[in-house]
Every structure is written in structure tokens, then in C-alpha cells.
Symmetry: C2
Subunit: 149 residues, 2 copies
């Protein structure tokens, strides 16, 4: 039985979406496509951003609907993986904008140079630049070797 699902878009919650959207523009080049503003209190009820060729959805906290930010929950079980052609430059830009580096850029055995940051709103971002074509079997072989398995 097949589904009618055509696409998946991550929808993420922050405290102070207005400030966050500005931050994501400076940190990752996010472009705002549109926003809907709550007439009662000015919260952003829904906005869409373009990052590279991908779309993401963002909103302020709505606790009544279970929409809570990492600050309120205490972290996030989702990381946003960003494919980049220049991980060092893009890491520097994100940190300049106010992100905190959790892992410096480093080459990985699976053929990517990867860095990790957390943004001021508690979301985690992985910047990843492909540096080598590695076949799946070779990736697993290197991992086994690393661990002595």
C-alpha cells in the first residue's frame, strides 16, 4: 500500500522568531519567503525560509498546540544537515553571526569535512562539505577498522 505523501519539510519552533529569522539570514543565507503575524500579539504564527534550495518552516512558541522551542524543552533530537561547498567559510560566517561551534571542521572517513554549531535559539546545524567519493562498503570497512572490529 503506497501513500500520497510527496514531500517532507522541517517545521521548527524558536523563541522570538522575528529575531531568529534575521539571524538565520546572516548565519546561513536564509531568505524569507513569507510570514503570517498573529494579530493578537505579533508572534510569527508561520513563516517559510529558503536555505540553499530547501524550504523550512518556522514559528514562535504556541504552548497550547505543543509548539515549544529547544529552550523550553531542553534541547532538540533533530539536527539540520547543511550541504555546503565551503565548510570552513560557512562555519566562520555562522559563528560571526552568533552561533557557537560544538565541533570544529574536520575531515571524516565517510568522505565529508564536517562542523557542528548550535544557534542562539538552541537548534543544532551540521555543515558538511563532500571531499571524497567513498563507496558504502568502504565507509563501513573504515568504520570497522577504526573500532578494531
Amino acid at each position: 500500500m503506497s501513500t500520497s505523501i510527496s514531500s517532507l519539510t522541517p517545521y521548527f519552533i524558536v523563541k522570538n522568531a522575528r529575531v531568529a529569522i534575521d539571524f538565520y539570514g546572516r548565519a546561513f543565507g536564509a531568505e524569507e519567503l513569507f510570514r503570517m503575524t498573529d494579530p493578537r500579539d505579533g508572534r510569527i504564527g508561520h513563516a517559510e525560509l529558503k536555505i540553499g534550495e530547501s524550504t523550512v518552516m518556522i514559528a514562535d512558541e504556541y504552548p497550547d498546540f505543543g509548539a515549544l522551542s529547544p529552550d523550553t524543552i531542553g534541547g532538540s533530537p533533530v539536527t539540520f544537515h547543511l550541504a555546503t561547498l565551503a565548510v570552513d567559510a560557512d562555519l566562520a560566517r555562522a559563528v560571526d553571526a552568533g552561533a557557537v561551534a560544538l565541533r570544529a571542521a574536520a575531515d571524516q572517513g565517510y568522505g565529508e569535512r564536517v562542523a557542528m554549531v548550535v544557534d542562539p535559539f538552541g537548534h543544532r546545524w551540521m555543515l558538511s562539505q563532500k571531499i571524497e567519493d567513498v563507496a558504502l562498503e568502504e565507509m563501513q570497512r573504515r568504520w570497522n577498522e577504526q573500532t578494531g572490529a
Copy 2:
């Protein structure tokens, strides 16, 4: 200054990724593209799934790297928005597979019929079917009207 970022892919953590991948296949038609298995203990260190035309990354918990599931953190500040052509059927399928409906399918003023579920691993999914073309100004006008603003 522009970035070199080309795309964003959500990377999400679960407890027992092997069981979760099977669940996502039954619930949302997710197709496994590949997986890397930890030679030390059989955890899935990285796997990629296709849902509709979108790719997502999934792994087991790696607490040493801050990779924690919703069970451990106590929720998620990210919802996965699924565009579907048949929200009622796809909601029924997800619930059959073991998801719990948080909101029944209902028509929304912004032109979509929307339902929300939480899966057995603590991640939230929004199923959304477009039912009407609504211009942005009209969306905002309806919201203002609803709230008496």
C-alpha cells in the same frame, strides 16, 4: 556575502533506529536508501530514508556526541510537515502503524486539511493536504477576522 550552502536535510535521532526505520516504512512509506551499522554494538550510526521525494537522515542515540532522542530530551521542537494528496487515508495508515493522533484531520483557513500525529519514538508529524488556493493577504485577513483583530 552569500554562502555555499546548497541544501538542508533533517537528521533525527531515535531510540532503536532499526525498529524505527521499519515503522516509518509502514507509517509514511519511507524507503531505506542505506544504513551504516556500528561494528561495536549494532547501533545504526547513520541511515538515509526517502519519504515522498525528500531525503531524511536518521541514527540511534549517541549521547557522547549530543545525539539524543525525544524520549531522552522530553520532546522535540521540530515537526515534520508532510505534504499529501490524501490526508485522511495517510493519517489512518500512520495510526494503523502505531502513531498516535494529536489532532484529527480538519480543514484550516489557510487552505489545507491538516492532521498531527506523534510517532512511537516521540517525533511529531503534520500531514497536510492542500484544499484551496489562498493568497497570503487573504490568509492574514482570515486570521485577523478569527481573532477579532
